[in-house]
């Protein structure tokens, strides 16, 4: 009897812990670059639910029509959200420390953007790493 109750408590606790973790994304640093903007282009809950729709829509606008507005562009996301680590380098798109990848690992959804797209801010990278040499 006690065993059953303790099992239930354990299960309940782990569920609470697990769901809390994946919803709040506590393990993912999502600070934004305050020198660029004070807040994200959309409210957090909207971004969580619809960021992929915004990005996909923007990609069509840009590639096909040549519209280069910055609000929903992937480069804009990267410039703000990808912050340097303690050693000054940028996290790899494969590591959990990367803003996008960290969340996508927690949500078990594969992110394919960075097979082709830049995963770190370019201007800041250029200062630290000489790309062409």
């Amino acid at each position: 009897m006690y065993k059953r109750i303790s099992l239930k408590i354990l299960l309940g606790l782990s569920l609470v812990l697990f769901s809390g973790n994946s919803i709040t994304h506590e393990n993912v640093p999502h600070n934004i670059d305050r020198t660029i903007a004070d807040k994200c282009v959309e409210p957090t809950d909207v971004m969580r639910a619809k960021h992929h729709i915004f990005i996909k829509h923007q990609s069509n606008e840009t590639v096909v029509k040549g519209i280069r507005t910055k609000k929903h562009s992937l480069n804009n996301c990267i410039n703000c959200h990808i912050q340097p680590l303690a050693d000054g380098t940028y996290p790899s798109a494969k590591s959990e420390e990367h803003f996008c990848t960290g969340c996508h690992i927690a949500a078990a959804a594969k992110v394919e953007c960075f097979d082709c797209h830049a995963s770190k801010p370019f201007k800041k990278v250029a200062k630290k790493v000489e790309i062409f040499e």
């Binding site: 069509n60 840009t62 590639v63 029509k65 910055k70 990267i78 082709c116 830049a118 990278v125």
Partner: protein, 247 residues
Amino acid sequence: MKKYEIKLNRRDFLKNSSMIGMTAIAPGVFFQELAHGRALDEPASAKKRWGMLINTNQCTDDCDACVTACNEEHGIEDFGRPTTDTQWIRKLKLTHDVSGETKNVPMMCQHCENPPCVDVCPTGASFIRADGIVLVNKHTCIGCRYCMMSCPYKARSFVHENLENQLPHAPRGKGCVESCTLCVHKIDNGENTTACAEACTKDGQQAILFGDLKDPNSEISKQLKKYETKEVRSDLGLNTAVRYRGI
């Protein structure tokens, strides 16, 4: 003395005031267009057709400024595998059979008006933009390489390698076909030039001229009227946007 009476009814008033308004706004709109190209939120329009004029008389053997500039601009790496390495622009050397005269011809996507690559693309990834630039939509490209086979200029490359450190303005990845974009990111940002033309002007032989073929006052249009120019494989009727002098 005759008195001049001003009779202004509602209709005339509206007509005149709208005309004054137009004359006040028009120069502003015009100058803005000159200074910045089009706005970031404005789509590319068919009022322009971007093209290049390459003067092969000025292109020399020992210069590869255009190729280097293109590779740097788009982050194109050399993997030491010449048969499969990506090339958006390459230099050809033509030798005349009889006279032995040689000409250097920078060759890249010719941005045809009737592009065969667009005709054969099974997914619609290969497309021509409103302003005449032929592009690959890499979100739709399945890497079948039909377009590479159909291109008479061998302008397109398939990415065989896993890539890293791509540049934000030039997304590139394994499994897609790609080619010269006529530096579409520069055009969209209002710079209205290409990396190769810039490099050729600065470090090279001033052989590449970039401009709007539909604007009669652009330098390229003036030169096209003044000099004899040729399309490569003009027999195919593709109406290319890249034209050559001296071949």
